[in-house]
Amino acid sequence: MDTFVLLSITGLGLGAMYFLVASGLSLIYGLMGVLNFAHGAFLTVGAYATWYTESKLGGVGNVGVRFVLAALVGLAVGAIVGAVVEIALIRPLYQRHIEQVLVTVGLALVTTALVQAIWGNDARTVAVPSWVGDTTHVLGASIPNDRWIEIAAALLVLFGLEAFLRRTRYGLIIRAGVENRAMVTALGIDVRKAFTLVFAIGGVAAALAGVLSGVYFGTVDPSRGTSLLIFAFIVVVIGGLGSIRGSALAAVVVGLTQQYVNYYGSVHLSALGGLGDLSVVLLLGLVLLARPGGLSGKLA
């Protein structure tokens, strides 16, 4: 039982990070029709900005203060990078979707290479307050405290995004634009500002995922963005484009499935340790073959 609880909370923790990356991806594809391969780069940039700031803060306050400050810097960098990328690279290619996708691929390569060039391939440690590394006892299981942070952060973002989408004018524009972008312009609304906003939001969310991955794994490295991005794509397809709630649900399903199948598969079926990863990936294939439009029907 205690293993089950540990697996569940860990699955939720991972799911939290997938959700954070997927939410931005989902909005961007839903609203703009752009498959943003650079999303992993936003994550990497946010993670490294946090690590770098933390390393430069030296003796300021205690570890907790430094970490929070560094994280805030990381989030700000994520937002700015997201907005700048949209304005400089995506907007000029308006309505040339293939080129937009290709440009994000190029950007992903460039960013990873840049990070590798400056800081090398080795993983860098992120310093966190010591209580993060401790465990809490829940239902007999020892849960590492970082899981709570990830889950809390994801819930915050989920509620924040939902509130933004339901209660603000730009949220309204985005929700409508995801359904029918042409009609939104036909009502006299300049969707381009919404585009930049959505990229900025995606940048922040991905950067947050980057920061949290630093907490979860204890380190940041140049390939983190790419590896999480794949799972985010899976979540987006399963959960539905432009649907925040769908992404949240799918992220939970993916995270939990991965954990359960990885563990029980290796223990009871003496299968490979990666059976969970495999099954999640195949789940993507199955969903698409059954419903090429993704679960929400908006993919195709």
């Binding site: 309204l172 524009i173 929700r175 409508a176 359904e179 029918n180 042409a182 009609m183 939104v184 312009t185 036909a186 009502l187 006299g188 609304i189 300049d190 969707v191």
Partner: protein, 230 residues
Amino acid sequence: MSAVLSIQDLHVHLGESHVLQGVTFEVPEGGVTALLGRNGVGKTTTLRAVMGLTGRRGRIEFAGEDVTQEPTHRVVRRGLGYVPEDRDVFAGLTVEENLRLAVRNGSANYDLVYSLFPELRTRGRQAAGTLSGGQQQMVAIARALLNENRLLLVDEPTKGLAPLLVTEVAHALEAARERTTILLVEQNLGVVRRLADSVVVLETGRVVHTGPARALLDDRETVHRLLGVG
């Protein structure tokens, strides 16, 4: 009477098809101009081209200004309302949100809209996707009436509606006619007869007839030849 809309030598290609082959006509200010023609002749494409929703070549002047190069949202902000053929209401938004989205400036004529379509007020919180076809049509028309527009482009508003609803729509358009100019695409000749002051007829991507509505509609032979009905 000046023209609120002037279209000159409009060409549109959709895929490999040369749909509009040099469409030229004017919409005089005030009243209703009906855009007629058989199915597939390019009426909807013409409206979409004016809106900038499809690539086009030619010259478009709206309220005296050349708007050919302007993006859709900017042309619309000059006072252009659009009621598309498929209504295009946002299914995931409520009725109230659909209307609110359309509001351009601070002031919106909710009084007019709710007096014409009282149901929209009562169903304000209902998701637009759950409305009937007729109710969605009301939302689509209401959107265009909320703002002060110099011209409304209305595409087949009575399509697929029961006779009672057709009358309601016609009534709404009559109310609109008092406030703005309308370019109306419509297959229902009864509605055209009731509303239209002048007509423009398209055939194979070109304008083949313009003139007063009554004169054309009374000429059964020509109506049959050009529109294939009657």
